[in-house]
């Protein structure tokens, strides 16, 4: 039983890292820029499809490097979604900064187009991504305790990305500019910060993080045209529950939801656990509509 508890703790942490990885990109875009990107799930799917393509290319032309393809795929996924986010900001988002609700509609439209695009390009069936050999199996801690390697990998990746985002936002010059623009756009412009460029970089980074998340999830789930839809609501829940404009809030929220859900899943049926978790979120949102850790969400 004690062993199971340890493994249960691990599966909670594993869910936490998944939720966190999902929500991080959105937290940047939504939290720092106030933009709702409904196509965020499709950006994840784009990352996942990039991973799939990378695996196909490696299998065909570089079979010797197959073991390392995932690392390349994650980098490619970031680059592709970063670039796509950049274009998206340039042609769509930047015209809508003063109309946040309209951003929501336009990005939803884009998400529909992307979904159908995936279907046209990759076909309706889901595609499988091969797992590299070094991620197969489990780390045998004791006789009874086995920690799945792919879960461990996603966890490590999640940690790495979170750290990178924090360093970027709180320790780099770009981060300084981003925070300045978030706090006072006019003043930032006045002291010589190119606010437009800052917006574009922020949005692109958020998109890129979504791509990384998508790449990582190919290890746990499947990739299909509708994959993004599956992720988007969970993602928004985490961000909303944590409180917008607070990266720490996102982390706390992902942790709370993950632990609540995986614990309840252990003692109840999976379906009931989900319902209870969601109900809990709703009740808390009724009493704290601004989320767990947000200072102000007034208009």
């Amino acid at each position: 039983m004690g062993d199971i508890l340890i493994m249960q703790a691990f599966s909670g942490l594993s869910l936490f890292s998944v939720l966190l990885l999902m929500a991080l990109g959105l937290a940047i875009i939504f939290g720092l820029m106030g933009v709702i990107n409904m196509a965020h799930g499709e950006l994840m799917a784009m990352g996942a499809y990039t991973t799939y393509l990378t695996s196909v290319v490696f299998e065909k032309y570089l079979p010797g490097l197959m073991g390392a393809y995932l690392i390349f795929a994650i980098v490619f996924a970031f680059l592709v979604t970063f670039a796509f986010g950049n274009l998206m900001e340039r042609f769509m988002i930047q015209h809508l900064y003063r109309r946040p609700l309209d951003t929501l509609l336009a990005t939803w439209g884009l998400s529909l187009i992307l979904q159908q695009g995936f279907r046209t390009i990759f076909g309706a069936p889901e595609v499988g991504v091969p797992m590299p050999d070094w991620l197969l199996g489990a780390w045998q801690v004791t006789d009874a305790i086995e920690i799945p390697l792919n879960g461990l990998f996603v966890m490590a990746l999640s940690l790495l990305v979170t750290l990178a985002v924090f360093v970027f936002i709180f320790r780099s010059r770009w981060g300084l500019r981003i925070r300045a623009v978030t706090q006072n756009r006019v003043m930032s412009g006045a002291v010589g910060i190119d606010t437009k460029r800052v917006d574009r970089v922020t949005f692109s980074i958020g998109s890129g993080v979504a791509g990384i998340a998508g790449a990582a999830f190919t290890l746990l789930g499947s990739t299909g045209p509708g994959t993004g839809q599956l992720y988007i609501v969970d993602t928004f829940m985490v961000v909303v529950f944590g409180g917008v404009q607070s990266l720490i809030g996102t982390i706390v929220s992902a942790f709370t939801i993950a632990e609540a859900q995986s614990t309840m899943e252990f003692f109840l049926s999976g379906s009931m656990a989900k319902v209870l978790t969601l109900l809990g979120i709703v009740v808390i949102l009724f009493f704290r509509p601004e989320g767990l850790l947000s200072l102000k969400v007034r208009k």
Binding site: G128, L220, G221, F266, S271
Partner: protein, 409 residues
């Protein structure tokens, strides 16, 4: 609970094979009967053609599975047309997209019956879509051929069910697990909706009757992708068998995570009720190798009709395509309809439905027979074990099993 009847196997196998085929050739040679005689209810039938509908999701979440069934149904219809059609009439097809949305299914069913006057409709995959169109077919006096293995508990005069109902898929499989594999304890895991719940209800009865034990029965929401806690519970309870009625994309997550946690078909008896050859490709054969699957049909079924079917399907849609149970059940539907129409000598829905009782067909899955009264098929249950190439090794095969949509439990 009824014990499944198997006496039909030997009898049917001996009776003349390909009776329907012979009949159709004979009909093709004769002059087609007059339209007024074969169509008294205003269906879209003229001297040269008859219109039927195909109603599946071509878009949305279930399109993945349903579009393949459409391929199989179209293949059958084209084959029938090439062989002279039905009552001397070429079949015209109107394809409608149910868009994975139940009200849309009802809307399109209305259109097919009301505007297109389809003589028969081949369609629906999920139970929800069938439930949505059922009143439309009963009211509009239409005829629907439904190709999915499903939960049973239904019997409409306007629907012919060509897939297995739950007892057909289920009972033999569980009996086999207990008798042949020596399983004693079972973990029932399903997606949270009616088919898994009904399937498990039946499975539970059988398990208990044979002295086995259900150690847990639990349901995950549709679309669930995080099975960590559930897998821990499985490890804690140490069941001999995990019986999974998880459907759709969740399966990918489930088997990837099971495998990562050290449970796979190689070292644990896993049985999946909702994985066909097609789904194996999405999941990745390496994740489900060794898993057992009970179905009425596998692509690897070895007989003449199936060899022809597989060859024709691949020739038309590509060598790399695979064929699963629902696709075969979709494929035989137009043949069953044709046989019934020709037996009735009429396209009228009531007459066709009445003529369907007792029809036999040499199908790719073997000789099947429509039940005298309940509109379901006598079908075989085969247990396949998933191979590394994604197809199934058939490890067990029953005789024909009588359909029993309303089992007394």
């Amino acid at each position: 609970m009824h014990t499944p009847t198997r006496r039909f196997l030997s009898r049917i196998a001996k009776t003349g094979l390909a009776a329907a085929m012979a009949l159709s050739l004979a009909q093709g040679a004769q002059a087609a009967p007059a339209t007024a005689a074969v169509n008294t209810t205003g269906l879209a039938v003229d001297d040269a053609s008859v219109t039927v509908g195909i109603l599946h999701s071509l878009s949305g979440t279930i399109a993945i599975t349903e579009s393949s069934v459409v391929d199989a149904e179209k293949l059958a219809i084209d084959e029938i047309n090439a062989a002279g059609g039905v009552l001397g009439r070429q079949i015209k097809v109107v394809v409608e997209d149910g868009a994975s949305d139940w009200p849309t299914f009802a809307e399109k069913a209305n259109k097919l019956l009301g505007s297109d006057k389809a003589a028969a409709v081949f369609g629906c995959y999920t139970s929800a879509s069938r439930k949505a169109v059922l009143p439309v077919f009963e009211r509009g006096k239409g005829l629907l051929y439904y190709p999915t293995y499903y939960e049973g508990l239904e019997q409409s005069p306007n629907i012919i069910y060509t897939g297995q109902e739950a007892t057909q898929q289920n009972i033999a499989a569980v009996e086999w697990l207990i008798k042949e594999k020596g399983a004693k304890t079972f973990y029932l895991l399903g997606s949270d909706y009616i088919w898994p719940r009904t399937t498990n209800k039946i499975a539970k009865k059988v398990i208990e009757r044979l002295g086995g034990k259900v150690v847990a029965e639990e349901y995950a929401p549709l679309g669930h992708t995080q099975f960590g806690s559930i897998i821990n519970k499985i490890k804690l309870r140490k069941p001999d068998v995990v019986l999974s009625t998880i459907v759709g994309g969740s399966n990918v997550a489930l088997y990837k995570q099971l495998k990562a946690a050290g449970l796979d078909g190689g070292n644990k008896t896993l049985m999946a009720f909702a994985i066909t050859e097609e789904e194996v490709r999405g999941i990745g054969a390496e994740n489900v190798t060794g898993v057992y699957v009970p179905m009425g049909y596998f692509q690897t079924v070895d007989n003449e009709a199936n060899r022809k079917f597989v060859a024709a399907f691949k020739a038309r849609y590509g060598e790399d395509r695979v064929i699963g149970d629902t696709m075969e059940a979709g494929y035989i539907a137009p043949y069953l309809w044709k046989a019934a129409v020709e037996k009735a000598g009429s396209f009228d829905v009531e007459k066709v439905a009445a003529a369907s009782a007792g029809l036999e067909l040499d199908a790719p899955e073997g000789m099947v027979k429509l039940h005298d009264s309940n509109h379901h098929l006598y079908k075989y249950t085969r247990i396949g074990q998933i191979r590394a190439d994604g197809l199934m090794d058939i490890v067990h095969e029953t005789g024909l099993i009588e359909p029993n949509p309303y089992p007394e439990l």
